[in-house]
């Protein structure tokens, strides 16, 4: 199930074509408006098709509403994937009533849930987490990592460019494209100057013995 916006529908198109190429036909593939907040009946309809896995592609509000409905509907599926819990786990924990609600869920984990070690520019995740906590007084989250990563790219661009005119900035970005490895992955642009989205790993949440949420990667971190 996907929300009918560019972000989610394009992922659904890719996913369905890849599944079909692998000989798997989705038993249920429907779009819902992005403003959807009630998923109970949709879940019931999906359950009636007995899927082996449920993949819900939405924005954070959709994922929250979907998981809340899943929790209270009584429907059970062998595997459930949603996008944003891996990026905003604390938001989902507070909305779903604790870490146990996320146990077993598949998602795209992002920093700080995953730690890239082979970086060549900027602070590592542990260094940034410590600096952020000291400066801001709050624990680091994906949005702060993404903001820091943007600043790193701008900093590198300014350091590389000969002048501030548009062409020079563009040449500077092209020069380090594919070579800049930060705590958020490799920065790369295509021939038209658009940033190439990286392939995110898929992870599965579990709760460790001390009651903390952790993620186990089921596809490799690239």
């Amino acid at each position: 199930m996907y929300c009918t916006n560019d972000f989610d529908q394009s992922q659904d198109n890719t996913l369905v074509s890849k599944l079909q190429a692998a000989g798997i036909t989705p038993v249920y593939n429907n779009g819902v408006p992005t403003s959807t907040s009630s998923y109970t009946v949709l879940l019931h309809n999906m359950a009636a098709t007995h899927p082996q896995a449920v993949i819900e592609l939405g924005y954070p509000n959709n994922d929250i509403a979907f998981l809340q409905a899943l929790k209270s509907s009584g429907d059970h599926f062998p595997m459930v994937f949603t996008i944003f819990p891996g990026q905003l786990p604390s938001l989902f924990e507070s909305n779903l009533g604790g870490v146990s609600s996320l146990n077993g869920l598949y998602t795209y984990p992002a920093p700080p849930l995953i730690n890239r070690s082979n970086i060549n520019y900027g602070m590592s995740l542990p260094q940034f987490s410590s600096a952020y906590q000291t400066t801001i007084g709050q624990p680091v989250n994906f949005l702060s990592v993404a903001g820091y990563n943007t600043a790193l790219v701008i900093q590198k661009t300014l350091a590389t460019a000969n002048s501030l005119n548009q062409l020079s900035l563009r040449h500077a970005v092209s020069k380090f494209s594919g070579k800049l490895r930060t705590l958020d992955g490799t920065f790369q642009i295509n021939s038209e100057g658009a940033q190439v989205g990286e392939t995110l790993p898929v992870g599965r949440f579990s709760v460790n013995s001390s009651g903390q949420l952790q993620v186990n990667l089921v596809t490799p971190l690239q």
Binding site: T40, V41, L42, A48, I64, G74, L91, G97
Partner: protein
């Protein structure tokens, strides 16, 4: 045998959509009731209606985060806070608006401003992220009805909605104040000439309108999940659709409008989910084209 099994499954899906739609619709009947009352009595178009629902939801959220875990106490809090606020707010606003040359248009503009203020204040206080109120009923096992599982939270919200709607019905049709309210709905000036204290009754109805919106707000985490400061606009549009389907100015029409909206939405989610958010707008257009007075409307509306 295979055909029977498929037909049985399709029937079960249809039945589930209808029952869920009724539960969902009853909540929206309550949600739109206040909008209808305010228009019926004072000819006020409350564009901030959904924002008062949001205020009710955040009162419940604040209460919950301060240890008031029961929705019943949240409902009581909203009755006191929004009831008091509505009664006090009426006197500087109501008489001027109802005495103006165009109360519908002026109230529409005024409440648009109120809506913006409430939304901005809520964003400042609570931020933009959705938050949840984790009532215990959300974790209770689903209720089995004719072989299918329904969420207890929806059943509770629908049940409370029915009780509140019946209480408002009882007020309108079985109390002296209710007779006065209906008299004002019929003709404000004639009611005044018969000795009815129009402003006192209007203030009570204004408070009642905000209270019913607030009560729907307290119940909203049970039905629509997370709450957020900008949720008001969408709710206002849906509430308008519901009251116009039933009949603008007729509180009983809210129930019919709510049921039609809820069932239509769930049927759309079942059979044509991509277009489901069009439901309130399509119903609104159909009603305005086919029966502009609403399904329970008897005469020509003045607005």
């Amino acid at each position: 045998m295979q055909t029977f099994r498929v037909e049985g499954r399709l029937l079960r899906i249809l039945f589930y959509a209808i029952i869920s739609g009724m539960l969902f619709g009853l909540f929206f009947a309550l949600m739109s009731l206040g909008l209808n009352l305010l228009f019926g009595v004072m000819r006020m178009v409350n564009l901030a209606h959904g924002d008062f629902v949001m205020v009710g939801a955040f009162i419940a959220y604040v209460a919950y985060t301060h240890g008031i875990l029961s929705p019943w106490l949240g409902l009581a809090l909203v009755i006191v806070i929004l009831g008091g606020l509505g009664f006090v707010l009426y006197f500087p606003i109501g008489p001027r608006l109802t005495g103006s040359y165009d109360p519908e248009m002026l109230s529409l503009i005024l409440f648009f401003g109120v809506s913006q203020i409430l939304e901005a204040l809520a964003v400042m206080v609570f931020g933009n992220n959705p938050v949840a109120v984790g009532y215990h009923v959300l974790t209770v096992k689903p209720v089995n009805l004719l072989g299918q599982a329904y969420q207890p939270s929806w059943i509770l919200a629908a049940g409370v909605s029915v009780i509140v709607i019946l209480a408002v019905y009882g007020y309108l049709y079985h109390t002296r104040l209710g007779y006065a309210t209906r008299a004002i709905m019929g003709d404000r000036e004639e009611s005044e000439s018969t000795g009815i204290n129009v402003h006192r009754v209007s203030a009570i109805v204004f408070a009642l309108g905000l209270v019913t919106a607030g009560l729907a707000g307290v119940l909203s985490p049970l039905v629509i999940g997370s709450i957020y400061p900008t949720m008001g606009l969408g709710l206002t549009i849906t509430a308008f659709a519901v009251v116009i389907i039933g009949s603008l100015g007729n509180p009983l029409g809210s129930i019919l409008g709510g049921l039609i909206y809820g069932i239509s939405l769930m049927l759309m989610e079942t059979y044509l989910s991509t277009w489901s958010t069009m439901v309130p707008y399509v119903l609104l257009l159909l009603i305005l084209l086919l029966r502009p007075t609403g399904l329970l409307g008897k005469g020509v509306r003045r607005a």
